[in-house]
Amino acid sequence: MFEIRIHGRAGQGAKTIAQLFAEVNLAVGKFVQAFPSYGPAREGAAMNAFVRIDDQPIKLHSDIKKPDAVLVIDPLLVETENVTQGLKKNGIIIINSNASSDSFKKKLGNNFRIYTVPASHIALKFFKKDIPNTVLLGALVKATKIICLDELLDGTKEKFMKKLSPQLVEANLKSIQEGYNFLKIS
């Protein structure tokens, strides 16, 4: 079982990428769950989305308290939320930030594998908009190896083709690729 928590703000697409990542994993034969946690939801408020992935059918219907990996869409949430809460020792945390991963060590400590990816920066290049989510998924796949890059690309293409223009599909695939390439496993 692999459990992921995504930190974002309502409206940033945390739920959407949680669902996308679950669907891509489902497509390669894994068992999945993806769910948001709703507070008194309003745009801009801090919120979480979660993904559970397993090779066996998933019986649990509880919250994810001890994630294996954390994605932070909005780096300011590192200041206001406890983004490493329950994160397993040596767990992965990927932050959308231009800063170095070392700059977060002071705040988050040495117990985790901290990665930063300038996902907003990369997204601006491909979308002309700050939608960093698929960049972060590319990075997540590199760091976690839950599925391989081609599976993520194929699954995303398959899903987005039904909804988005070919240009936007392409922009998303490039975002994934660049997020994947950017993250370096030391």
Binding site: A18, Q19, A22, E23, L26, F31, V32, Q33, A34, F35, P36, Y38, I58, K59, L60, H61, S62, D63, K65
Partner: protein
């Protein structure tokens, strides 16, 4: 079952209900939007808009109107479906016993949510329990696959000529309704063949055989008509199993009155309904791996309640714990009342109230409950799991 007659699709519980309705193709659907039922009405509205069903989708100004419309549509002879949650169900209450009293086979998807006050949009079973004695059949779902399949079972059961009663398919709000899971969606042809067309025996729009529905009844007949509803409920119990067997031939999933999970040699058994049953199964797996004799009884059919059958499977169990997502206010909680009826003097029971208003229930908490039961720490007073001091 190995034939490739299904596709595994990622669906939330709400979407699974809507996808089932697409295949059922009701004549009329009406609902008033309320959280966490929202994904049901949202997805089904899109299905109707795309012309994938012939359903008349009627927008209304309240749940009371939605349910009244169900009565009208079903009385007219149409297959009628709705969906709601919490206060929405509370507003429908006036019409619920009218539906069952008139023997109208309406099917409702309920995304279960707490009841106000305090206002809260999250899950427990207090809304479903409002309707437990109103002549509605109630089926509880553990996961999205069950939501999808139980809709077909519900329609067949409701429309069966020996039953003719409304059915409520209950899924946990948010925990199921907003949780994406892989759902095996079977070919339209197979499902349509299973569900069949609805051909009512008597209906208002049959001009060749005029009839009155909803007549006033004096004391000389009211009693008898209510007894017929009770008799139909008893029939529903028999018919449920037959339809469940038929459904099993398609999906391979076994929808008995309940599911027994590691019960044969168990010393301590938890009785549960809905999604928490899944978490309890995970707890059973873990404790079994440590050699502890624990098991789970998951209730699928809550109304009519399978008293005799539950009694048979619980009569050798020493300790029974009952999980309830309901607050008892000056009363024994509903599932505990039902289960107590099934226990002999050798079995001790303990009620655990948990998960109210969306309070999370972790597997470790259920492990603790099992350990509590195995030590024989039981009392007539309910224990509150996860309650802050």
């Amino acid at each position: 079952m190995t034939k490739n007659n299904f596709k595994t699709i990622a669906l939330t519980g709400g979407e699974a209900a809507a996808e089932a309705m697409r295949q059922i193709n009701p004549a009329v659907f009406s609902a008033y939007p309320i959280t966490p039922q929202t994904p049901i009405i949202e997805k089904f509205a899109k299905i109707v808009e795309k012309g994938l069903v012939e359903t008349k989708f009627v927008s209304v100004e309240s749940e009371h109107s939605a349910m009244s419309l169900m009565v009208g549509a079903a009385a007219a002879g149409g297959r009628a479906m709705t969906a709601t949650s919490s206060q929405g169900l509370a507003l429908m209450i006036e019409i619920l016993p009218i539906t069952s009293g008139l023997r109208l086979p309406v099917v409702m998807n309920l995304a279960m949510r707490s009841i106000s006050a305090p206002l809260n949009i999250h899950n427990d079973h207090q809304d479903a329990m409002l309707a437990r004695d109103l002549g509605w059949i109630q089926i509880f779902c553990e996961n999205n696959q069950e939501v999808y399949e139980n809709n077909f079972l519900a329609v067949r059961l409701a429309e069966n000529s020996k039953v003719k009663l409304p059915v409520m398919v209950c899924q946990d709000g948010f925990i199921a309704s907003h949780n994406l899971e892989g759902v095996k969606v079977y070919d339209d042809k197979i499902i349509k063949n299973f569900v069949g067309d609805y051909t009512p025996e008597n209906y208002l729009l049959n001009l060749k055989k005029p009839l009155t529905i909803g007549a006033f009844v004096m004391p000389d007949y009211y009693f008898e008509i209510k007894k017929q509803v009770a008799d139909a409920m008893n029939e529903a119990k028999k018919v449920y199993l037959k339809i469940a067997q038929e459904l099993k031939k398609i999906t391979g999933n076994n929808y008995g009155y309940f599911e027994q999970y590691f019960m044969s040699d168990a010393k301590a058994v938890i009785v549960a309904m809905g999604s928490v049953s899944g978490t309890a199964k995970a707890a059973v797996d873990k404790l079994r791996s440590q050699g502890k004799k624990v098991g789970l009884l998951k209730i699928n059919l809550y109304r009519p309640f399978p008293y005799q059958e539950v009694e048979k499977v619980l009569n050798k169990i020493k300790f029974v714990g009952i999980l309830e997502r309901v607050m008892g206010c000056g009363s024994i909680t509903p599932l505990t009342s039902d289960i107590s009826e099934c226990l002999n003097s050798k079995t001790s029971r303990q009620t655990y109230i948990l998960g109210l208003g969306g309070r999370d229930v972790q597997m470790e908490e259920i492990e603790e409950i099992f350990n509590d039961l195995l030590k024989g720490k039981l009392s007539k007073e309910p224990k509150y799991v996860g309650l802050k001091n």
